[in-house]
């Protein structure tokens, strides 16, 4: 049901995190500055107990009031310094880490927009979404907070132990020795936790997928009263996710108790030894107090290692998920040396418009082995200015063939040329400027009517938009409350199917492309509107090379010639009446004799 991508579990946490470097690089000085500030803050925090020890051993023990003041001021000064360093630490990274997050998210978005349709067929959008939102924010939180603390706490621990060693080498060595069991502990924990965290993130992505589907398919769920079933499916996934999270928590619980127990046991040992040393005179009381106060100070950095490590694991898994998407190779790329569209390159004249499909074969990249190609050697020529209708049974590959022209997919054999230039020798941008498509199922965006019509053709003027709307008989939008500025909502749901289809047609013609590919563009229109659209469309088609997928005789009538697609090949080309006369398959597909009334049958009989 859900496609879980392969686990690259072999990659280590550090390696995964290092891959983030290019995004972190612009902020590296701030990150270093922030780490330095944190260290400085830690050092000032660490020095305070030393000064306090001096105060206790010196002025207080000697009842020396005059010596007290400068030392108290020193304590205050260090306190202020600690606060200032704290402020610096956060202030330095606050903005830049937010920008790092934005940069990663932007990279993902750009990459996904670039990916061919085949990629999007394969990936569930909920999975993509959870990577672009949750995983990326996780990365920011780690960089902004945890990473610094991971470094600083490790450093604090190191420095602290150094200070302890200098003050009292024996006791210091004991503290140092205690870190060994903790290290082993952390390594074991890390391995288990890593797997669990990846699983929970994948499950969260699956959950997002179900949410998305259930919302996009709400009409059907409601119409069949099936939302309970969907709720059960959601509930099952949500419970699985909870199970994984609880497992993570159990791991964490073990981790925490270990991280508490080892240092506490060490302190108990230190206590016995330390007091012995004071009583035997090898150490002063003040030295012991300050020793303990440093040990206490180190308790938090040690404890925090547990959840910082967990955070590092979460982030590494999140980074893996992000890079899994970013690593996917784009199979539909721009050529290194793009050709210039032929006719324009030749003499500047704009006379071109020859579309040639030669020996085109196509199969979906993940089609099971042993199944035949969907398209098996298509040959078709559409001459400049000509309109060819493509007729074939449901599922024969007509739509697929049309998506090959603007390279939504790439052919797996043969080639498609525009004025002699292979579509793969043009940049996608050039190509899609030359070719416009009207999809049968129009996708509208939550944006104004104008934005929906022009889409990528941003230089489009209102006059051009109006012209396109006129061609598509979609001028009803001008009567909407705010005219072209009216937002047509989510997927244009508040427009009828016919209205949406007309807008999609307007979209295809607005930029006056040289090649037009129309996928059953009038299927949702009523007879009256269809006639009007056809009339207006004829003017456009007169000067445009067009390939039109047709299910109906009325649409076929727009074309100069008709091509019949059967079993992945073009089996017949000719005018509508030629094919009606010569091809039984064509008659089967397009003769609406038993659909229409008696008059039609009469007409057939006359022919």
């Amino acid at each position: 049901m859900t496609v879980a991508p392969p686990h690259p579990s072999s990659r280590s946490t550090v390696k995964s995190l290092l891959r983030l470097w290019p995004y972190v690089r612009p902020a590296r000085w701030k990150l270093i500055g922030s780490t330095a500030a944190t260290l400085a803050a830690t050092v000032s925090g660490l020095v305070v107990p030393l000064v306090i020890q001096k105060v206790i051993d010196g002025p207080i023990a000697h009842r020396d009031g005059s010596a007290l003041w400068p030392m108290a001021l020193a304590v205050l000064g260090l306190g202020v310094a600690e606060a200032v360093f704290f402020w610096l630490r956060r202030t330095l990274t606050s903005r830049s880490m937010a920008r790092v997050e934005a940069a990663i998210r932007r990279r993902l978005y750009t990459h996904l927009q670039e990916q061919p349709v085949a990629f999007h067929d394969k990936w569930q959008s909920g999975q993509l979404l959870s990577r672009a939102s949750n995983d990326v924010s996780l990365i920011r939180m780690f960089l902004n907070f945890m990473l610094i603390f991971l470094i600083v706490n490790a450093a604090t621990f190191g420095i602290g132990i150094g200070v302890l060693l200098v003050k009292q080498w024996l006791l210091g060595l004991i503290v140092l020795a205690s870190s060994l069991p903790m290290l082993i502990f952390m390594i074991i924990f890390e391995q288990k936790y890593r797997v669990a965290t990846r699983r929970s993130q994948d499950q969260a992505g699956d959950l997002a997928t179900v949410v998305e589907e259930s919302i996009l398919g709400i009409r059907i769920l409601k119409a069949f009263g099936r939302h309970r079933a969907m709720e059960r499916r959601f509930s099952t996934l949500a419970r699985e996710l909870r199970g994984t999270e609880l497992y993570k928590i159990r791991l964490l619980a073990v981790m925490w108790s270990g991280m508490i127990l080892v240092p506490e046991a060490t302190i108990a040992v230190l206590m016995v030894l330390g007091v012995h040393m004071v009583s035997s005179g090898t150490m002063t009381t003040g030295a012991l107090v300050s020793f303990f106060s440093i040990v206490m100070y180190l308790r938090w950095p040690v404890l925090s290692m547990g959840f910082l490590l967990a955070g590092a694991n979460d982030t590494a898994a999140a980074a893996d998920r992000v890079f899994e998407v970013l690593d996917s190779e784009n199979s539909v790329t721009d050529p290194e040396k793009p050709a210039l569209p032929a006719s324009r390159a030749a003499n500047g004249a704009d006379a071109g418009g020859l579309l040639r499909v030669e020996g085109v074969r196509f199969r979906h990249p993940d089609a099971p082995e042993g199944t035949p190609d969907l398209l098996r050697g298509i040959d078709l020529e559409v001459r400049p200015g000509e309109t060819v209708a493509l007729v074939g049974a449901t599922g024969s590959g007509k739509t697929t063939l049309t998506s090959l022209v603007p390279r939504l997919y790439d052919v797996t054999g043969g080639g498609i040329t525009l004025d002699g230039t292979d579509v793969r020798d043009l940049t996608r941008s050039q190509l899609r400027e030359l070719v416009s498509v009207a999809f049968e199922e129009p996708i509208l965006f939550s944006a104004s009517v104008r934005e929906n019509v022009i889409l990528g053709y941003q230089q489009g003027t209102d006059a051009e938009v109006r012209r396109a709307l006129k061609v598509a008989q979609a001028e009803f939008v001008l009567d909407l409350p705010w005219g072209l500025d009216t937002r047509i909502g989510e997927q244009g749901l508040n427009l009828s199917g016919g209205q949406r289809q007309r807008l999609a047609l307007a979209r295809a013609v607005v930029a006056r492309p040289r090649f037009l590919v129309l996928d059953d563009p009038l299927s949702a229109l009523d007879v009256h509107t269809e006639a009007l659209v056809e009339e207006a469309l004829r003017h456009v088609l007169a000067t445009t090379t067009a390939l039109v997928v047709a299910h109906r005789p009325s649409t076929v009538m727009l074309a100069d010639r008709v091509a019949l697609l059967e079993d992945g090949r073009i089996t017949a080309v000719g005018t509508h009446s030629d094919l009606l006369a010569s091809s039984a398959a064509y008659r089967h597909l397009l003769s609406s004799a038993d659909l229409g009334g008696s008059r039609n049958e009469e007409r057939e009989a006359v022919k």
Partner: protein
């Protein structure tokens, strides 16, 4: 509906009281941005101008704003707190256990320095006198405390983990169920991206709060209380100094909470907008690529993304001011305690050991403050998210299930469909624009009725009322004499099925998708339904037949094939009333022929309403209604109407001519 310009937008501050200087100084930077941008104007955004909204975000969140126009920020906060209480409710005993465990953990942990102080003050002198037992006692006790801390911490984590995961599960299910139960009207305005963001991103903030917060909060407060108690028992005068330090901390915290809440609200909105943009791009990727929309999309995305980054930056800067402020106050207190303590030790009023352990404690008092700040931040974030979720959950379905006592049973099925009656039905989305001004219609059981008419004539509305996607604004829609509003949803859906022009497929196999019509259907029944509608052959020819995964949203099936699957699904449901809303538009002629052939048998013993712009479908109808501007203008058998001189006759002639 009146068009209001951006200049009329009022500037009601929705988050902060006027006593928050930061909010007023820094935030309204984008206020003057033009409203009528690429997103266009929607009724909601136009309306929201009168209510509140000082944000550039326009309609995407304006619906939220409009819905909240009568409430205020306090109420929003109240709603989110009420939701939190509701979520915690079932776990109150576990929460109590958590608090107990946290107390235990704190007792055990805070005893540490005390024991060290004792070791220095009492065990050390005994040792000097040759008695090592007290020291060993202290060390043993210390170890015991350590074990108790570790044990209670582990138990606490597991218990609180169960609580928080349970709450998250409940919240996720609540959002999901609620979204499913809300009417289509709601779904048509609350974009799917925003709903997705509520169910994923917003819930995720709560998860973060639970993961890091609950733990930190309890620990922080308890350790605070504990240390204060210990400090007071050790020396109340020094303890008073510590208390004095808490006062400025409290004020700082208040400032932080307000500022942070304000920012977090904006962040949740901004994040939702990114998700909307993301989801729309990915779902419309074909159109995006074919029409070279990528650069423009990136422009829009950049704007949203940068805004979120800026707000996130603002929020972290706020935290960057708050934490050191706490630190500063804490450190100053330490210095003051040191000086005062030193004088008192010098004067003989205080033990040296007491001062030493006092100073140790104070440091521990302030250590978790950083954590407290993080918690508060997470809390504000979750609070803002919960507000949005609570608002969503507060929406009542416009098409509610009937109350148990209002439920009426349908008469036993006659086997020939059911009678449909529209009585005085009036329907409008906005009162000024009635879609159906006054509609009267009776369809006897077993009749097949075709409804034709131009776009906007009210055909689809008729169908939506019949399927109870909406309730009429006035009058009644009755099924065998029972008002649809008195029928439980499950009962209604068993009796009325609908095939629409959009044929969304869910991920899963073809069989799963057909089986949606009848959850307990056997494979034979599923295949039978497919065969009846002429879909069997193409499905069987697919790589894995009926088990073939349709892939994401059925990208692999052609539009016509998807429509056939939708037909099979509806047939399998075997309803008494079947509604076809332009359901054959993508079919080619042979498929349509097969479908019509099947329909002749299938519709024989049920009531059917067919909306069609292709008159071919009308051929199988017993009766044709021609609608115009929400009224029936012609009503009769197809033969009668064709023979007549009305609109249908014209349409029919035009259509026949188009067939050649």
């Amino acid at each position: 509906m009146t068009t209001r310009g951006p200049e009329q937008a009022s500037t009601v501050d929705d988050a902060d009281g006027p006593d928050d200087p930061f909010a007023l100084q820094e935030l309204p930077e984008e206020q003057s941005a033009p409203r009528a941008g690429w997103r266009g104007i929607s009724p909601e955004s136009a309306h929201a101008d009168d209510a509140l909204d000082n944000e550039e975000e326009d309609g995407a969140e304006a619906l939220d704003a409009a819905a909240l126009s009568t409430t205020d920020a306090d109420e929003r906060a109240r709603n989110s707190r009420a939701l939190l209480r509701l979520l915690i409710g079932p776990y109150r005993w576990k929460v109590a256990v958590c608090v107990l465990l946290a107390v235990l953990e704190q007792v055990a942990m805070q005893a540490g320095p005390l024991l060290i102080g004792l070791a220095i003050d009492s065990a050390l002198p005994s040792l000097r006198h040759g008695d090592g037992t007290p020291l060993l006692w202290m060390a043993g006790l210390y170890l015991l405390c350590g074990a108790a801390t570790a044990g209670s911490k582990a138990l606490f984590l597991r218990t609180s983990g169960r609580v928080s995961q349970g709450m998250l599960l409940t919240l996720r299910q609540k959002i999901f169920d609620h979204a499913q139960s809300l009417s289509l009207d709601f779904h048509e305005h609350y974009t799917s991206g925003r709903l997705i963001s509520r169910a994923t991103g917003d819930v995720d903030t709560l998860r973060q709060l639970m993961d890091e917060g609950l733990d930190g909060l309890v620990t922080t407060f308890l350790s605070f209380a504990f240390i204060l108690v210990i400090l007071f028992t050790q020396d109340w005068q020094l303890a008073l100094i510590v208390i004095a330090g808490v006062v400025p901390m409290w004020f700082t915290t208040r400032w932080f909470r307000r500022r942070s809440r304000f920012l977090q609200r904006k962040i949740r909105t901004a994040v939702a907008m990114i998700i909307v943009q993301f989801v729309e791009t990915m779902n419309g990727i074909r159109a995006v690529q074919a029409f070279r929309r990528e650069p423009r999309n990136l422009e829009i995305f950049d704007e949203l993304n940068d805004r979120t980054a800026r707000l996130n930056g603002d929020s972290m800067i706020t935290l960057a001011r708050y934490t050191p402020a706490l630190k500063l106050i804490g450190n100053t207190t330490v210095a003051v305690v040191l000086v005062v303590g030193a004088f008192r030790v010098a004067g003989g009023g205080l033990e040296l050991g007491v001062l030493a352990s006092f100073l140790l404690y104070i440091r521990r008092l302030y250590d978790p403050l950083d954590q407290l700040a993080m918690f508060l931040n997470a809390y504000q974030q979750a609070g803002a998210a919960l507000e949005k979720v609570a608002d969503l959950l507060a929406r009542r379905p416009d098409v509610p299930e009937p109350e148990a006592e209002a439920v009426r049973a349908l008469p036993a099925a006659s086997g020939t469909g059911r009678e449909i009656a529209f009585r005085d039905v009036e329907f409008h989305y906005t009162p000024e624009v009635p879609v159906l001004p006054s509609f009267e219609l009776t369809i006897p059981a077993g009749q097949t009725v075709a409804v034709v008419g131009a776009t906007g004539a009210g055909k689809s509305t008729l169908v939506k009322l019949l399927a109870r996607f909406y309730d009429p604004s006035g009058g009644h829609v009755r099924l065998d004499g029972v008002d649809l509003r008195e029928l439980p949803n499950a009962e209604l859906r068993r009796n009325v099925s609908m095939i629409t022009q959009e044929s969304f497929l869910f991920s899963g196999s073809v069989a799963d998708n057909i089986g949606l019509g009848k959850p307990d259907a056997t494979r034979e029944q599923i295949e039978e339904a497919a065969r009846a509608i002429g879909a069997y052959d193409f499905i069987a020819a697919m790589p894995e037949g009926f088990d073939t995964d349709v892939r994401k949203r059925g990208g692999r099936l052609s539009a016509g094939q998807r429509q056939l699957v939708a037909f099979a699904r509806a047939l399998l449901a075997d309803p008494a009333v079947l509604v076809l809303d332009e359901a054959t538009s993508s079919l080619d002629i042979p498929s349509e022929r097969a479908v019509q052939h099947a329909l002749r048998t299938v519709l024989a013993d049920r009531t059917a309403v067919i909306i069609a712009h292709r008159l071919s479908t009308v051929q199988i109808a017993d009766r044709v209604l021609v609608m115009e501007a929400g009224r029936v203008v012609e009503d009769g058998t197809p033969q009668e109407l064709i023979a007549g001189t009305g609109r249908f006759s014209d349409l029919h002639r035009a259509w026949e001519e188009s067939l050649v």
